[in-house]
Symmetry: C2
Subunit: 440 residues, 2 copies
Amino acid sequence: MSRVSSLTSNKNHMSQAIKANDPNRRSWVDVPANSDFPIQNIPFGIFSTDGTAPRTATIIGDTVIDLSALARLGYLSDTGAAADVFSTSTLNAFLELGKATWRAVRDRISDIFEADNGELRDNSDHKAQVLSPAHAAQMYLPVQVGDYTDFYASKEHATNVGTMFRDPANALLPNWLHLPVGYHGRASSIVVSGTPLHRPMGQTRPDPEQPPVFGPCRLFDFELEMGYVLGQGKPLGHRIGVNEASDYIFGVTLFNDWSARDIQKWEYVPLGPFLGKNFGSSMSPWIVTLDALEPFRIPAQERLKPILPYLQQEKDGNIDVNLSVLIQPEGGEEEVISRSNFKYMYWSAEQMLAHHTVNGCNVKAGDMFASGTISGPTPDSYGSMLELCWRGTKPITLKDGSERKFLKDGDTLILRGHAEKDGIRIGFGEVNGQVLPAIQ
Amino acid sequence: MSRVSSLTSNKNHMSQAIKANDPNRRSWVDVPANSDFPIQNIPFGIFSTDGTAPRTATIIGDTVIDLSALARLGYLSDTGAAADVFSTSTLNAFLELGKATWRAVRDRISDIFEADNGELRDNSDHKAQVLSPAHAAQMYLPVQVGDYTDFYASKEHATNVGTMFRDPANALLPNWLHLPVGYHGRASSIVVSGTPLHRPMGQTRPDPEQPPVFGPCRLFDFELEMGYVLGQGKPLGHRIGVNEASDYIFGVTLFNDWSARDIQKWEYVPLGPFLGKNFGSSMSPWIVTLDALEPFRIPAQERLKPILPYLQQEKDGNIDVNLSVLIQPEGGEEEVISRSNFKYMYWSAEQMLAHHTVNGCNVKAGDMFASGTISGPTPDSYGSMLELCWRGTKPITLKDGSERKFLKDGDTLILRGHAEKDGIRIGFGEVNGQVLPAIQ
């Protein structure tokens, strides 16, 4: 039986098997063992080399593939995508073409790089125009993000936060099991992996009996999240149904929603997080398509309360992706501080998108939404320093002997993730960012 | 003594008087009595006529002035703005040019249309290319909004809401007098005046003892706000100081932050408003420059608690703008339901922008932020149905005998505003929108 997955959808072209997911394919491009990027992945990003203009790429193994060159040379002419959509500095124009075209392009790339296909493999001139070593590629923010929404969709995370700050007996608020709680975030400050961020300045009130003070954030945190990139939208007034939602989601990235806990605590009542979040969020440069993740779908968590019909999803809602969080102190070695999994979500991406648009809110290609902090059931699988160190009461001791309750200046925080099944590993690369000192 | 205002600023070009504000100027274009658009206003918008491409305009009296034509004909050549910035479908490219250029363009337009200047007045051919009657102009959303932030900066509004939903004795939350509370809103669903909006569908819990239900919003509300359009930004990591902030704000519009109170009530804890707001916000088409409003500045409200230095503003923070709210039932006549004033703000636009960027959050040309609901001190000056009808306990009776606790399908809600002093009236036109039935 083929392990090639299929999509359940009301569109005929969506119900076909996804050729590019065929686990038996191998590429003529070298793919090192444990690479995140076998021929079954084919993620999309924006790159440049040597000061050239940013343009669309994919990656196999450690080799970056210039899709603008591939298109210019005619290799993508039957995919429905005009060559110039790959020459722009964001993926937005490509995203607007829709799922049938994304799939055709990915399938065609899979064909071109399949081991037995000589059309590019045997053309040295074309290969020189198309292929670059990954270490020579500068990666960019892959999309122009119109609007960004952050959800709060891991039950363990919401329970941990509710336990710490409210009432352990009623950690989840009354709405939490009925809808995916979300809030609008800041699109302008989303940056690509590798961008350092200054510790934010801000107003906090460390002593509740004293007036607030101004200074550098003292409780600098990360949040382990996955980001979803929308491929197509609908106009104002139209909703996206939960069972068509996966046709509108282009792909998934690693996402670090940096958080200033002390600023957040003082500001967030009653209208939600603001300056505690909007100084920066970091995403990984390669967007792994939802198509590539289809073989790794698993059933959603059991519903603890019945949900309304508009949130009832037919297909498996969760995706099994191993996630890890690492700290690298300045000048030191990286070490894992948490191991989690994308499967610890109570609400799926499709449920989030259906909920987001059920009131007619319009969404556009390039918009993003994120999962919220993903925490697993055990203390070594929590997705933030706040939870890992339980509000500072359980510091982490690193190999160099130093302690962390929150992040220190100079620390680099790294998120990695990959799905793996039957010998196929679909990875996300990583998102990293270094904490720089505050600008006083 | 001249009544022409001046800006206090650290930039030399900003300290000069604003020529276009000269109250003694009159235009050769007819300006009806009580027009919102005398020659002292010169707001900016995007218009088209007869199916032509949207482009930049201003308005004097009832005459729309095509700035792309004016620029093409060479009239704006000494302003520092290239002619093509006026030919695009949004003001963003113009906004990016900065305050010195906005001011030069506005001053030059004032010169061209000053009563004694014959250069355009006496050129029939050019006038035919430049002038259109306002009734023939189609107006568009004037900016591509990158990010949108809503504040909560009227003390009377925050007090009313706190009194209704929390504790009358402690209506203002502890942070409120120390910082301008704000939250991120949805940029994609901001629409221009005249765009009807469907009543949103959504999840609510009318009976706290029963599970939530799905259906049309029952408590459909407006919010009387002013919107601020950012003219320039700063990159990530850089803050905008409170005393330079007015150089970064291009102008002001009327803004209706439509609200679904029942959806909002169920969803908003703990992360803030989401689907209760993001189905649509409406703005007036003409952006009145902050320059044009300088003569109407008045001192800020008295501080009830000391504020931190980064929020201490030297120049007068408030602006005296008369505001009115009207309902027009379907097929009926419009009538005023509230009279308020922009001066009922506790926090100024400059304080909001300084706070928004104090953590290094980047802002861009075309970004918007809004004041939050503006409520005055008396019940006839409240800025929402929620407050005017005090949670439905004091219905409004319209002239046709019908009652309103919230908005009904078919109602058109209209906001109008103008500043007036010494015989000069700087108006905003209006923002209107009709409530259409929910799409089931």
